[in-house]
C-alpha cells in the first residue's frame, strides 16, 4: 500500500522508461476498475436475490447521481464534507495512526460551528463570523483528539480503541449539547438556531453547489502535496513506516504523533463546520450522518493518494445521493450502499494481493 504510482516514472526520458511507467499506470487502473466492476456484479446478484432488477437500480443511481442536473449538484455538494474527512484521514493513515474517531470529531465540529455562528453573525461581518466559527470547530475537534494522541504518544496505548471510544463519546456529547445547551427556543424540535441561507458559505455561480467543495478540493490537494513533497510530510511518513527507525533518525516521534492527530482531527472538524455553514445551516438532535466510517474505506481504496481519493469521494457521493433517492423510489433501503462499499473494498484488497503475488512470481 505504500508504493506510490506517482514515483514510478523514471528520471530518464527514454522511450522504454515511459512505456514502463505507462504500463504500470494501466495496470493500476485495471486492478482498480476491474474489482469495482466485479463488485457491481456481485452486489447486483444480491439485488436479484431480493427481487430488484440490478440494471434498473444502477441505472437509476447513475441517472439521479450524475446525469440529472439537480442530482449532480447534490452529489458535488455532498463531496464537500467528505473531502475534508478524507484529507484528515490521509494525514493520519500515511503517518501510521489509525484515527477511527472521525464521526465524533466531525459532529462536535458541526455542533460548535452551528452554536457559535448564529450569535456571532449578529455582531460581526458575515465572513468573519464564518471564519471564527470554523476556527472554533477546528479547536474543539483537535481538543477531542488530544487524549488519544497523548495516550498513544507517551503511553503507547493503541489509538484504534481510544479514538473509537472518543468517537462514541463525541457523538453523545454533541447530542447532549444540542438538547441541553444550544437549543433553539423558537422551535419544538430539538435543534440549534438556524443560520440564514444568505449568511451561509456562498454557492458556486448559479448552481446549488456549495463553495465548500472548492475548499475541500484545496484541502485534500494541499494535504497530498504536503505528505508527498515536503520534509514535514516525509517525517510523518517515516513515523508511519517504522516508528523505531524514526526515533533513531532523531525525530521527536511523540510530538509528531500529537501533531498528526491534531491535523487529522482539525481537518475533520473543519469538514463538520463546512457542512453546517455551507449546507445544513443547523444541527438537529440525533443527527449523525456517520460519514467518517464510510470515508475510511474510500481512503484505503485510493491507497491514501489525494487525487485518487477525490475520484473515490465522487463515486461515494454518487452512490449515496443516488442510493437515497432509490430508497424513496425503488424501495431499496440505502443500507445497500454499505454492502456495495464493503464488497468493493474486499475485492480490491484481494486484487491487490493477486497483483502483488503476480509481480513476485515474475521477478523470481
Amino acid at each position: 500500500m505504500t508504493h506510490d504510482v506517482s514515483s514510478a516514472p523514471a528520471a530518464g526520458l527514454d522511450v522504454s522508461a515511459a512505456q514502463v511507467a505507462r504500463s504500470a499506470l494501466i495496470r493500476r487502473l485495471a486492478t482498480t476498475i476491474g474489482p469495482i466492476l466485479i463488485s457491481l456484479v456481485l452486489a447486483g446478484c444480491l439485488l436479484l436475490a431480493l427481487g430488484v432488477n440490478p440494471l434498473s437500480y444502477y441505472g437509476f443511481v447513475v441517472q439521479r447521481g450524475v446525469l440529472s442536473g439537480l442530482g449532480l449538484q447534490q452529489t458535488l455538494t455532498r463531496m464537500a464534507p467528505l473531502l475534508f474527512i478524507a484529507s484528515g484521514l490521509i494525514v493520519a493513515f500515511r503517518a501510521g495512526m489509525w484515527n477511527l474517531g472521525g464521526d465524533g470529531q466531525f459532529l462536535l465540529g458541526a455542533v460548535i460551528a452551528a452554536a457559535s455562528v448564529t450569535p456571532m453573525v449578529q455582531v460581526l461581518p458575515v465572513w468573519l463570523a464564518l471564519l471564527a466559527a470554523s476556527l472554533l470547530s477546528i479547536l474543539v475537534a483537535v481538543f477531542w483528539s488530544l487524549l488519544p494522541a497523548l495516550l498513544r504518544a507517551y503511553q503507547g496505548v493503541n489509538e484504534i480503541i481510544t479514538t473509537l471510544m472518543m468517537s462514541f463519546l463525541g457523538v453523545s456529547l454533541a447530542n447532549v449539547l444540542v438538547k441541553l445547551m444550544f437549543l433553539d427556543p423558537g422551535t419544538t424540535v430539538p435543534q440549534t438556531r438556524t443560520l440564514a441561507v444568505e449568511d451561509r458559505l456562498p454557492r458556486l455561480f448559479d448552481t446549488t453547489v456549495t463553495s465548500g467543495l472548492v475548499f475541500g478540493l484545496m484541502a485534500i490537494i494541499i494535504v497530498h502535496l504536503m505528505m508527498t513533497r515536503t520534509a514535514f510530510g516525509l517525517k510523518l511518513r517515516m513515523v508511519g513506516a517504522n516508528p523505531r527507525a524514526a526515533i533513531h533518525a532523531g525525530l521527536n516521534v511523540p510530538l509528531l504523533t500529537v501533531a498528526v492527530f491534531a491535523l487529522s482531527a482539525g481537518l475533520i472538524g473543519l469538514g463538520g463546520a463546512v457542512d453546517i455553514l455551507g449546507i445544513q445551516g443547523n444541527v438537529r438532535a440525533d443527527w449523525n450522518p456517520a460519514y467518517g466510517l464510510a470515508v475510511i474505506p474510500v481512503v484505503f481504496l485510493a491507497r491514501m493518494n489525494g487525487f485518487a481519493a477525490i475520484a473515490f469521494v465522487f463515486l461515494l457521493s454518487v452512490l449515496e445521493i443516488g442510493g437515497e433517492s432509490a430508497a424513496r423510489k425503488l424501495g431499496v433501503p440505502h443500507y445497500f450502499t454499505l454492502v456495495l462499499i464493503s464488497i468493493v473494498l474486499l475485492t480490491l484488497a484481494v486484487a491487490e494481493y493477486i497483483d502483488h503475488r503476480f509481480n513476485q512470481a515474475r521477478k523470481a
Binding site: 500500500m1 444480491l46 431480493l50 427481487g51 489509525w98 477511527l100 487524549l147 495516550l151 503511553q155 503507547g156 496505548v157 493503541n158 484504534i160 480503541i161 481510544t162 473509537l164 471510544m165 472518543m166 462514541f168 463519546l169 453523545s172 456529547l173 447530542n175 447532549v176 438538547k179 441541553l180 466510517l293 464510510a294 475510511i296 474505506p297 484505503f300 431499496v332 433501503p333 443500507y335 445497500f336 450502499t337 454499505l338 454492502v339 462499499i341 464493503s342 464488497i343 473494498l345 474486499l346 484488497a349 484481494v350 494481493y353
Partner: protein, 311 residues
Amino acid sequence: MTGLFSDTFLAALLFGAVTAAIPLLLAGLGEQMSEKAGVLNIGIEGMMIAGAYVGFVCAFYSGSLWVGFLAGAAGGMVVAALMSLLCVRLGLNQIVIGIALTLGLEGLTALLYHFQFSRSYPRLPAAETLAVPLLSDIPLFGPALFRHHLIVYLAVAMVGVMAWLYRRTQFGLNLQAAGDKPAALDVAGIDVIRTRTVAVLFSGGMAGLGGAYLSNVGAGLFIPFITNGAGFLGIVLAMLARGRPIWVLIGAMIFGGCLSMTTAAQVAGVNVPIDVIQMLPFLAVMAMLVLFGRRASLPAALGIPYERGAR
C-alpha cells in the same frame, strides 16, 4: 426518588446488568483468543450482528432458542472464516478487512431485515429462565443473578474453561506463541496459520453467540444496527484484560451495569437526556485506559500477518 432505591428496582438493575453483560462477555472472550494468537479482529462487530440476525431468524422460524443460539454462532463463524481466509491465509490488512466486514454485515442484515420483516416486526416470546435451586432464593441477589436463561451460566462457565485452556494446555501455549513469536512456533513444527485460523473462527463463533443472545434474549427482536458498538466494547475488554479471562468477566459486568443504568434511569424518569447515560460506559473505558493504559500490554505480533521465511 424513593423508587430509585427500592429492592425491586435494584434487583431489576442487577438483572439488566447481567443481561447486558453477557454479549460483551462472549465477544470479549472471543476477541481475547484471537488477539492472543496475533489477529486483531476488528470485524467482530460484523460477526456479532451476523449472529444476531441469523440467530433471530432461526429462533423465530424454529421456535427454539437453542437452534437460534447455534445458528447465531454458526453465522458468526462463517464471517470469521472469510476473515481468516483473507487476513490469516492471504495476510491482508486486518483493519481494512475488519472495517469492510463490519460495514458490509451491518448493511446486509439491515437490508435483509427490511425485505423480510419490515411489515411484521416480529418478536420472540420472553426467554425461559432457569432458577438455580437455593441460590435463587437469596433476597435481592437471588432473582437478579440466578434466574437467567441456561446460556448465561454457560457463558460465565466459559471464563473458567478459557483460563484452563490458556494455562494448562498445549493449545493455549501455541496460541500465545502465535501472537508473541510466530516464527518460533513454526520452527517447533506447529502450523501458525492453522493456530490463528482456529482462534479467529472461535472468536467469530463467540461473537455470533453473543449477538444471538442480544437479539433473542436481551431484546426479543432484531432491529438494524442492534449491536450498536457492543463488538467494539468487546475489543476494548480484551485489550484491558491482558490475556486473563476473569478480567473480561469483571469488565463486562462493569459495562453491563452502565448499560443497565441507561434503561433504569429512563424507567425511574430521571430528567437527563439518554445520551448522558449512554456516555457512561465509554467514559469508564477512557478512565481505565488513562489509569492502566501503560499496562495494557498486547502480543508482540498483533496485527502482523505471518509469512514463513519473511525476514
